[in-house]
Every structure is written in C-alpha cells, then in structure tokens.
C-alpha cells in the first residue's frame, strides 16, 4: 500500500498561504484553528526559507504513543487519524508532537480545552467514509475519492508535495539534481526517521 507523506520544498515555498486557505475552504475549519500554517525561518535575512507545516503523519507517531485514551489509529496508507469521540482534550499529543499539529477549540483551557483537531491528510475520521457525521467533525475525505489533500494540490508553486513517499521523494530528488541545490526535506528525519539525501 502507499505510504502517504508530506514534503515541503522550502526552495519553492513563497509563503503564499494557499495551503492554509485551501485547508480552511475544504474542511470548513473555524477561525482560530489552523491545521496548516506557514512558518518563515530567518525572516528578512538572506537564506530566508518558508515551510508549510501541518501534521506529518509520522512513523511511530508520538501523539498516538502518548495518548492516555489511545484515540489514534493509523490507516494502511500510514495516515495518522484520531477519533474525536474518544479524545478527552488533555493536550498530551501537543507536548509530544514535534510539529505542533494538534489544535484545540479553547485557549486558557482549565481542563476543558475541547476535542483535539488536526490535519487529517484530507482522509476524514473513524466514521464511515464521506458520511455527514465524518464531514461535520473532520471535514472532507478526499482520499476516499481517490484524490490528494487539497493543500498540496493547490500549492501555487508546487512546493508542497503529498502522496506516496517513493513518488514524492523521486520528484524532489529529480528537482534537486536539476537545479543543483536544496535545503532538504524538512521534518522528515524527525517524522519518518529517514530523509532524502539531497
């Protein structure tokens, strides 16, 4: 089966935030919760790089490991999803996540921070695919429709790649070999314990 991954080619990302609004548009994510965001490193200096970051759907996901109520599950495409029914909003996944992906509807949360919400790789949740319940709680389920996450599909410079890890590694390697430079597959060593040697 495919092993779905995200790869943000920081040498193409221009922080245009298309991935952010595409995710909001497709999954109707409310104000305040940003499943995906673009972080600009070394802002304003030569060598400035922008990286689009949401959940990397890690191998041996830290969030799944530390969750006290074990509400995470990994699909066979290696997409890490969770059940909002089982989540108690304790925040442990946020401490463990290297990428700050989990978000909560409440802030200053005194113990009732609400159910955790995170990037679902546009693959919905435990409810049956493309059902109204899944739609209401998790947003769209594009993978069930044979499509890819909308953030990657709509990325203006095709910096954000999503799909099977061999395919996107191939694309990235080919790009780097053609252009002669590359700042690496951001977050891969942390998330997938392996990276693309650029």
């Amino acid at each position: 089966m495919a092993r779905m991954k995200f790869l943000c080619d920081a040498d193409r990302c221009i922080e245009c935030n298309a991935c952010v609004t595409a995710c909001k548009n497709e999954n109707d994510v409310p104000w305040g919760i940003n499943r995906r965001r673009v972080v600009t490193i070394n802002d304003g200096k030569p060598g400035e790089r922008s990286v689009s970051m949401a959940c990397m759907h890690c191998t041996d996901a830290p969030c799944a490991a530390v969750c006290p109520v074990d509400c995470f599950y990994t699909t066979e495409d290696a997409v890490v999803l969770h059940s909002k029914e089982l989540c108690i909003g304790c925040g442990y996944c946020f401490y463990a996540c290297p990428f700050g992906a989990p978000q909560y509807p409440k802030v200053g949360n005194f113990g009732s921070r609400g159910k955790m919400d995170k990037c679902t790789y546009c693959a919905g949740g435990p409810e049956d695919d493309l059902s109204a319940a899944e739609q209401a709680a998790y947003g769209s389920n594009r993978l069930a429709e044979g499509k890819l996450p909308l953030c990657a599909e709509m990325c203006s410079t095709k910096a954000l790649l999503a799909g099977d890890h061999e395919m996107i590694s191939e694309i990235y390697k080919e790009r780097v070999s053609k252009r002669g430079y590359g700042s690496g597959a951001w977050g891969w060593k942390t998330a997938y314990k392996e990276t693309i040697n650029v």
Partner: protein
C-alpha cells in the same frame, strides 16, 4: 495577544542562525549586503537544529515567524517532544510502578512481620483531644482531594495499559474525561488543603533533635522501646514536609499546565508535565505508607483524625512529650471516651 513571535526562542534562533548562514554582512548605511546569494546560502534544517542546540542539552526548537496571532505555532520543529515522550512512556511508568508497587509490597511485608501495632497496656478508655475540628477539616480536605487527584492522575499514566483493555474505549474515555475534569478543578481544593495544613501545623513540624533519636530507634516500629515524641514525631514530620513540598510543586507545575503558554513555552510545559508526574508518583507512594500506618498499621491511630480524641495510653506510647505538655497546661482534661 501580541501578534508577533516574542518568545526568546525566536530571537536566539535567528541570531544564531544568522551567524552560521551569512558571511558577515556589515550592513552599509543603505543596508547593502554586498555579494549575497540567497539561494546558495539557503538555510538547512539540520544546520539549524544543530546550531540552535544550547551546548550539552537536547536539540532546541526551530522557530520562525507566522502572520497569525497564534504565536506558539511559529515553532516549526521542536524535537524535545521526543525526550518528553521517552519520559512519559518509559521513565514515569517504570519508576511509578516501582515506587507504588514497591511501597505496597513493603507495607504488606511489614504487616506480616510486625502486625498491627497495639497500644501498650490496651486502651485506657479515657481520651485526650489530639486534633481540633479545623485540623481534621484541613486533613480530610487535602486527603480526599489527593485520593481523587491520585486516582485520576494515575489513570492518565497507567489507565491505557491497565484499565482500557478491561472496560473498552468508550467507557474508558468517559471515565478519563470525568477524571481529568475532577483532577483539574479539584486541584483548587487540594491546594487550599495544603495551605491550611501549612498554617495549622508548620510550627509543630520544625525538625528537632528528638526526631533524630526517633529515627535512630526506627520510630518504635522496629524493636521494642519507644522514643518520646512531641505533637508530631519524626515520621509524621517527614510526611508533613513531603505533602507540603510535594503539594506546592504539584500545584505549580499543575497550574502551568492548566494555563498553557501563560507562564512558559512548549519546552516549559513538557518539563512541568514530567516533574508533575514524577513528584506525584513519589507522593502517592509516601502517602500509601501514611494511610497504612494511620489505619491498619496501628491500633487507635485513626481516631486522631477520625474523632480527634485519642486514647490516653496510645498518646503516652507515641507522643509522650506532647501528653505531658498538654496535661501540664491542664487544658486537655481527660474525658471519658464516648
């Protein structure tokens, strides 16, 4: 909420990153980086992670700038999550189990060897006031909330392995959710209880020479003779200080977790969570011993907090100095036990 990144993480990251990336760019008057090739010097993740690591500690976070008010999302990668996970998955459960099971085992063994410590010469039928209602109220307020907090806390640590397989996910979620709710809001009661106890008993719990003697004789639990003790003997002082220091530490770390990003950033929260867990597990172990000695382990001990009136012989046996002092003041007139 300040819209722009303000945590020290950013400033440090950028300052250091600048060093390794750019050949000295003495910005001329018109801000003129001389020969600059932004692409060739494109910053790399590994470079940044290593460069930003304060010497001798875990890798620091890679932070940058975001345009949304949620400034904590400007942390792009914080590998420290790995260390926290290590402690959450291995260290805490391991030492927690050792401490708690170890203590339980020790208490059982002790009970089998020593059995229930009886009152010398049996109960005298006359009682003496040991703890006033305020003392008892403070004790039970702290004790009852501690039990609830301990149970809900341990549930978060061990529930998944022990309880979840038994009762199924939905029920376990309901239980854990209720537990977290009680844990978070009950914490105020516990904090209040600890404060009350400090106010009431601090003056009697200052360690003194008598305590050393008490310890050298194993507190009268081992061997036969019984070292004299004041209002609180050495063991009880230990318990007092464990509860006070532990309680305060748990409150501090607990409230920084309940008000995330108000006091510290992500690294601080992870630290607070680790400390909270380890201290809590230690306290649970100690309190188990306290519960044992205060109930099963020693005849007549429970009345101290149960009714507040203890048997005179018990008092003489365990707190001889306190009994003398009290009677000298003539205050504690002996009244027949109800």
């Amino acid at each position: 909420m300040v819209a722009f990144q303000r945590s020290w993480g950013l400033a440090a990251a950028l300052a250091i990153a600048l060093v390794i990336v750019v050949s000295g760019d003495a910005l001329a008057q018109s801000g003129q980086p001389t020969s600059v090739n932004p692409t060739a010097s494109s910053v790399k993740e590994g470079q940044l992670l290593d460069a930003l690591k304060p010497p001798g500690s875990g890798p620091s976070a890679v932070t940058g700038r975001v345009s949304i008010p949620d400034t904590k999302s400007s942390v792009l990668i914080q590998p420290a999550g790995r260390d926290w996970r290590q402690i959450r998955q291995e260290t805490l459960p391991f030492y927690g189990a050792i401490a708690i099971l170890g203590m339980l085992a020790a208490l059982v063994i002790f009970y089998l060897i020593r059995g229930r410590i009886a009152i010398d010469g049996g109960p005298s039928g006359r009682t003496i006031l040991r703890f006033a209602s305020a003392d008892r109220f403070a004790h039970w307020l702290t004790a009852s909330t501690f039990i609830l907090l301990a149970l809900s806390g341990l549930n978060l640590t061990f529930g998944r392995k022990l309880l979840l397989p038994l009762i199924g996910p939905e029920a376990f979620t309901a239980l854990s959710q209720a537990g977290k709710f009680v844990h978070n809001y009950g914490s105020f009661a516990f904090a209040l209880g600890v404060v009350l106890m400090i106010l009431l008993w601090l003056k009697d719990n200052i360690p003194s020479g008598a305590d050393l003697a008490w310890f050298s004789k194993g507190g009268g639990l081992i061997g036969s003779d019984h070292p004299p003790a004041g209002r609180f003997n050495g063991g009880q002082k230990v318990i007092f200080w464990v509860v006070v220091i532990g309680g305060v530490a748990l409150s501090i770390t607990g409230y920084s977790l309940m008000f995330p990003f108000v006091f510290t950033d992500i690294a601080g929260l992870q630290e607070a969570n680790m400390l909270h867990g380890l201290i809590a597990v230690g306290m649970v172990a100690v309190i188990l011993a306290h519960i044992y000695i205060g109930s099963v382990g020693m005849e007549g001990a429970f009345d101290a907090m149960g009714k507040g009136e203890v048997d005179l012989n018990w008092a003489k046996q365990h707190h001889a100095l306190w009994v003398e002092k009290t009677e000298m003041k003539g205050k504690g007139a002996a009244t027949p036990a109800e």
